[in-house]
């Protein structure tokens, strides 16, 4: 499948796995991931988002970032649906370790066991690590 950007530029769609492992706000790895995701989706790529380890914290509800003056992840993630980014997967074990359950998350995602998550990673055309 190809997407036409302008009269000259055609981009082939690849299956890109975005592996998200860092908590939000403490450093900028998490924000870089969101920026890459939106850019890639604008260019018609097929994105699979894989949240594991502390990355799951990006999905918590009720993030109020006014006092730390950073863009809220909750708000940015809400925009994903508009961009057609709807393949979100989350590591079951990482949720359990951190005492978080799916009802506490602000976006719809599918929780997977370790084996399924690993298989998902191995099926992509490219992996981006954040």
């Amino acid at each position: 499948m190809e997407t036409q950007i302008d009269s000259e530029t055609r981009v082939k769609a690849k299956n890109i796995g975005i592996v998200i492992r860092h908590a939000p706000y403490g450093n900028n790895f998490a924000q870089e991931a969101l920026d890459a995701i939106l850019t890639a989706s604008v260019y018609g790529q097929t994105l699979t988002l894989i949240f594991m380890g502390d990355g799951i914290f990006q999905l918590l509800k009720e993030q109020d970032t006014k006092a730390i003056q950073q863009k809220s992840f909750e708000k940015q993630l809400a925009a994903f649906e508009l961009y057609g980014v709807d393949r979100l997967f989350i590591c079951e074990k990482s949720l359990e370790e951190r005492g978080v359950n799916l009802t506490q998350l602000s976006v719809t995602s599918t929780s997977l066991n370790e084996e399924s998550l690993s298989n998902l990673m191995h099926e992509q055309d490219t992996l981006l690590s954040f």
């Binding site: 592996v19 998550l117 191995h122 992509q124 690590s129």
Partner: protein, 99 residues
Amino acid sequence: MKRSILHIVNQSPFDKPCLLQCLQNYSEGDCIVFLENGVYGLLPNHSASNDVIKRKCYAIKADTEARGLKNSIDEKVELIDFGQFVHLCTEYNLVQSWY
């Protein structure tokens, strides 16, 4: 279609969970390249040491030498330089960096 992953670990397992997360996502046909502080993961005395040595492992020689680990690393681990590292990356479908 199942592809092979070249995993990169640059953090010490005594400090960060990166190596453990890497091992959880390791499949037959993958390999692990240890560099920078990741080379401490090749010491034989941490909780995942037995798992590590069952996998296909490479380490950046310069990083093991710098840290005085040359004699503590199992012979099975292939010591490589950056040129060989680059070449290795072209031999795998996917690269995943655990930092």
